[in-house]
Symmetry: C2
DNA sequence: AATAAACTTGACCAATTGGTCAGATTGGTT
DNA sequence: AACCAATCTGACCAATTGGTCAAGTTTATT
């Protein structure tokens, strides 16, 4: 994953609208094309990893020549970086709804619901994220150390306050968070294994609902909270 | 990941001892060298993925010329396949101790203990496995459909029987298994993220013990079992 | 209509890399 | 010592692939 900043100099040729998103004129079709590239890239990076995905195949999948892809994203790394950041944003956004200071049971249940929905709607994004982190987060290390770190600390504090108030069992909040992340993302990252063990069938609506229900049930009860009805 | 079976024909040159493990003569040094290659390969595949890892760097890491590596493993894919199978074996072996028909609490606690130990001892193996499954299991699909499938069915049955006997809560056993897999492997696959959120520090003995304790606590209580002392 | 900027693309290149091979070297066996 | 199989290795090759570039075409603006 060698840096080749040299080529970025050529971008000057293209002026502002390419360098950032500040051009509002023809951005409609432009964004549509970028979006198509990003969708194709997300799938390829998820299925083959950074090195395994080729810009040629991504371009094919997006229905454009490879040279055109490089007009929008100067390097493969820039494209990959954008894909990872997009997932990170979705992740964080959903995570925000976690701490709309409700009671712990509602907050955690809502967070798990959201995370399961993301796993269903964006399995490729989740896979790319997992890949990136597994390989040492060469591209998004900054985000881990800043945004994710801060987010985690603040949520740990919320959970700890619930514990201190006696609303839930005494556990290290970070391990609860990890369990929620790991379990919900498992249904995206390991969807191939899950489907193979499901007789080769993808989860239907009922199966997703059942999975979400059981995950919530085990985790909520696991920390001393009651699920839905009772209490 | 194109198959190139042609080159396997050349292996005839090398006779039996290379084709399989049936030669007992000089297998001592031979196996030691193969082991060094496998360790290096496991690390490279874990850090860079199948395509990202190069046989040249694997050979460097193992301290031998690339050509020598290809003497022991005719293709990169054969080497990768061996790495994945090794992890699978470790996985299954540990999983076996799961069903030494104890009570559910002891069985699950023991299984989680073993899985956490594997995550600590073989993080690279776990990563390679995750990578392989995330990319659609192109190499080990057979294992998923046969060995893993059978193992899972039999364990689901055991858990279901506990439920039927009223020993634990009513949940779909498969989701309990997935949660255990996901959570325990998270500490291997996402070790980089976990360490970043741990102020860049690797887990020490105490941290591993605490993680294992909390994971067991949440999951066991989550399915209506009591942890360790009480009950 | 004229002009310039934005966009598109086929052809091309340099670097990387999995795998080959012929010729050494080593080690055991007679 | 002689022999042979096993092991080792530097040099090499063919295929892949990220990225470039010059020559277009389209689109907005005047």
């Amino acid at each position: 994953m060698k840096r080749q900043n040299v080529q970025f100099l050529n971008v000057k040729r293209v002026r502002k609208s390419v360098a950032d998103g500040s051009n509002f004129k023809q951005s409609a079709t432009r964004n549509k094309k970028k979006e198509a590239i990003l969708v194709a890239a997300e799938k390829m990076f998820a299925d083959y990893g950074f090195r395994g995905a080729t810009t040629q195949v991504i371009a094919d999948l997006a229905g454009i020549p490879k040279a055109n892809l490089h007009y929008y994203f100067p390097t493969k790394e820039a494209l990959y970086s954008q894909v990872v950041q997009n997932i990170f944003d979705i992740w964080l956004e959903a995570a925000d709804s976690f701490d709309q200071n409700q009671d712990p049971a509602s907050a955690l249940a809502s967070y798990i619901d959201k995370k399961m929905e993301i796993s269903r709607a964006h399995p490729n994004g989740s896979k790319v994220w997992a890949n990136e982190v597994m390989h040492g987060a060469p591209i998004i290390q900054d985000y881990l150390e800043t945004t994710l770190k801060e987010w985690t600390i603040s949520r740990e504090a919320v959970i700890q306050s619930w514990i201190d108030e006696g609303l839930m069992d005494q556990i290290d909040p970070k391990h609860l968070l990890y369990m929620i992340w790991a379990t919900t993302q498992h249904y995206a990252d390991f969807v191939h294994q899950v489907e193979t063990l499901n007789d080769g069938q993808a989860f239907d609506d009922d199966a997703w609902e059942a999975a979400t229900r059981d995950v919530k049930k085990i985790i909520l009860r696991g920390v001393g909270l009651s699920v839905g009805d009772d209490k």
